[in-house]
Symmetry: C2
Subunit: 200 residues, 2 copies
DNA sequence: GACTGTCTTGGACATTCGACCAAGTCGATT
DNA sequence: AATCGACTTGGTCGAATGTCCAAGACAGTC
């Protein structure tokens, strides 16, 4: 294989690892499967990463980053609160239906990391990040609106409700496989959240 | 070891497997770890089970059975709809806080089974079972009440909403570790469900 | 007491895994 | 052209894992 900077090779290995995990699950992502996916010799792996755990950490960081990017980019735009809420929800849901494997991987990684002593910290931080993102989403939902709005429940509680509901509905879809049914449950959540926003 | 019927030994191995999985995760439940937990020689394993997959199938069946038992036993009893709903929710939540490892295992097993070709069918049936249980719970909630009640959303949608919300809140607690915060989100769900029950 | 079917068990097997290394290759700098 | 640091790679190691087997032990039956 041509000479490549170690940093570039690291990125390729992370991408390859994600591809393998989406296709065959976290447990199938052995060092050998990953280098095969990246079309590299096995020796490359431990030249670029001190250990498999180090690679896993980077994979989690990349995946979390992707998810975060998408979430925050969807809140922007004008319109009433209900409209923006619906748009954000719909965007999230569309991505779940388009890329179920990626979402399945997210849950798998969280679980895997929680069991691995060296990655437990990463797992916790991952969830904190999601919670913070949903909190920002909720605040953006009221803050940008022309009229002054107030939530009838504390924002931290609402953030956790939204986080849990999204996770739950996603998990339901991934396991049941019925996009329509899960989508209707999600709409119920959206309507509920909209109702919780009262005029101040 | 004394002579024991193969069927009895099977049960002990299933229990041992669950104990190991709750403590150290599904991936740590090797045949050797399981027989060590059950205090048996390794040879016993494949005398009782054709393969590890066969044991896993039995483990899933047992766990699902436990969960189901608990859920249905809590719906009974008198009182208004709100009261019974609260009681059922509280009972579920108490069990999550008391035995987080058991619930974590449930999610791990579902995921593991979904990836294993031979167990994929079992995973699907597992989720169907949970959905059916929640459907029965919702129907029991209205059916037994003195006054005639009707839900303002279709029961199948409501069942999925409840299933997703419970799963989501549980997952949130398992990952964030904050029982109070997750509990408040769950109360929000309970109040919402109660609101969705309108007088017919 | 011989027989038969059920149960017991220590050891062995092939495979897979993460990790490691030594020898080699390349390219820029001096 | 000599040097040196960065990169490449095929092979190998020890550990762990699922599965299997052969030889024995035991209990009930004829």
């Amino acid at each position: 294989m041509n000479r490549i900077a170690a940093s570039e090779r690291r990125e390729r290995l992370v991408d390859a690892a994600i591809a393998v995990m989406v296709r065959d699950g976290v447990s199938a992502a052995t060092t050998r499967a990953i280098v095969a996916e990246a079309d590299m010799p096995l020796g490359s792996f431990h030249y670029c990463f001190r250990s498999k755990e180090e690679l896993l950490g980077e994979v989690i960081a990349v995946i979390t980053g992707h998810t975060l990017e998408r979430a925050l980019s969807e809140v922007a735009g004008g319109g009433a609160l209900e409209e923006r809420l619906c748009r954000a929800m719909r965007a999230y849901w569309q991505h779940v239906v388009d890329e179920p494997g990626e979402h399945r991987l997210t849950y798998e990684l969280t679980q895997y990391a929680a069991r691995q002593p060296g990655l437990a910290v990463v797992a916790e931080r991952q969830y904190e990040t999601y919670l913070a993102a949903n909190t920002r989403l909720i605040e953006a939902l009221t803050g940008d609106d022309g009229e002054r709005l107030e939530w009838s429940v504390p924002v931290p509680v609402l953030a956790r409700y939204v986080t849990a509901a999204l996770d739950g509905v996603t998990l339901l879809y991934l396991n049941e496989g019925n996009a329509t049914a899960a989508g209707e449950a999600l709409e119920l959540v959206a309507r509920h959240v909209a109702e919780l926003a009262g005029r101040a």
